[in-house]
């Protein structure tokens, strides 16, 4: 392939393009929603959800992974997905005693690389797109989860922490008249 014909570092360009385009997009949404932060958060989560619906198919075809039977497997797959798509490896910790809830801890979150939030945006969940993406992807494999930001580096927390909580397994659809 003749794709190397550039003086620029392609990996860096890719990451920064994603980060900066996302930043411009968030700014536009803030503007469109007249700074109604709750609406913006909802939008970001939904956008992530839509991405998750498609990304999961790429992940499944790429890894040929079977359906997960328990949350610990799911957690490993999510971690693997971050490696594949964002080249980062979040730590998996803080399991609940019933093993249906865990945290992903990010030391560095590439999405927020060039971002600083002004104080009036303190309720903005800038990384909500990641939560949405996890929720959408898992819904496609019949797992309903809640996914939310617990710690946020944009708000002077030392890391980004995303909590994933298993709600229920969705039933496979059966056509009417069959059992």
């Amino acid at each position: 392939m003749s794709r190397q014909n550039t003086r620029l570092d392609q990996k860096k360009v890719n990451t920064e393009l994603l980060t900066l385009a996302y930043g411009s997009f968030v700014t536009q949404i803030l503007h469109d929603q007249n700074l109604n932060i709750d609406e913006v958060n909802k939008n970001l989560e939904r956008i992530g959800y839509n991405i998750g619906l498609r990304l999961i198919e790429d992940f499944l075809s790429r890894t040929a992974a079977p359906r997960c039977l328990e949350m610990r497997e799911t957690a490993d797959r999510i971690q693997q997905a971050f490696r594949i798509y964002l080249n980062i490896q979040p730590a998996i910790t803080n399991w609940s005693s019933s093993s249906d809830e865990f945290s992903l801890i990010f030391e560095n979150n590439p999405l927020i690389d060039f971002v600083e939030l002004p104080p009036e945006f303190s309720n903005l969940r800038y990384s909500a797109i990641i939560c949405g993406c996890i929720r959408g992807a898992l819904e496609m494999v019949q797992q309903e989860v809640q996914c939310f930001l617990v710690q946020d580096q944009l708000k002077s927390d030392s890391c980004t922490e995303i909590r994933v909580k298993f709600i229920r397994r969705l039933e496979d659809a059966i056509p009417a008249g069959e059992d």
Binding site: V13, T15, A21
Partner: protein, 167 residues
């Protein structure tokens, strides 16, 4: 490439968002004096591309020596920058040496998975507007003010026209 699909997904979400966000307004609100909805939506997309390109090129050209003239700047944007983002070289780059540059990509990244066809062709402007902005923004940061338009005659091929403003 794994990072590619992620950005492609984000790009189509940006497109969907920009084309749907204004649709919720009641029809009576769209007065005669406002530009047609579609154009407005495309200009939002273009603007997101512009701010992205403006900041991206800034970060990428820090280690690159300053360009000596317009042609050299254009060449950098249309070769190095283009190849890094779109994973292939442009197929043709022409100029009339009077500030018009035409950049042709026969398999443009955001069109390669869309079926060629007349119905699909109507959608093409949505998938090239961000990139028009991206080019305009990166040139603006390098000191060249321009207008960028795109022309899709048959998917997945696209021609970008860059008109440098000389004033």
């Amino acid at each position: 490439m794994s990072e590619e699909i992620l950005f492609d997904c984000l790009h189509s979400q940006i497109v969907n968002y920009c084309l749907n966000v204004n649709k919720t307004a009641p029809e009576s609100f769209t007065s005669q004096t406002q530009p047609p909805e579609k154009e407005k939506d495309l200009s939002t997309l273009e603007y997101i591309g512009y701010t992205t390109g403006y900041r991206l090129i800034e970060r990428l050209t820090r280690e690159v020596p300053r360009f000596k003239d317009e042609l050299e700047t254009m060449k950098f944007v249309c070769t190095d920058f283009w190849t890094a983002i779109f994973k292939k070289q442009v197929d043709n780059l022409r100029t009339n040496h009077q500030g018009v540059y035409v950049l042709q990509d026969n398999a443009f990244r955001f069109l390669t998975r869309i079926s060629p066809g007349t119905k699909q062709l109507e959608h093409a402007p949505k998938y090239v507007a961000f990139t028009c902005g991206l080019i305009r923004g990166s040139l603006a940061n390098l000191g060249i003010s321009s207008t960028v338009t795109a022309e899709v005659q048959s998917i997945p091929s696209c021609k970008f026209h860059v008109q440098v403003s000389r004033n």
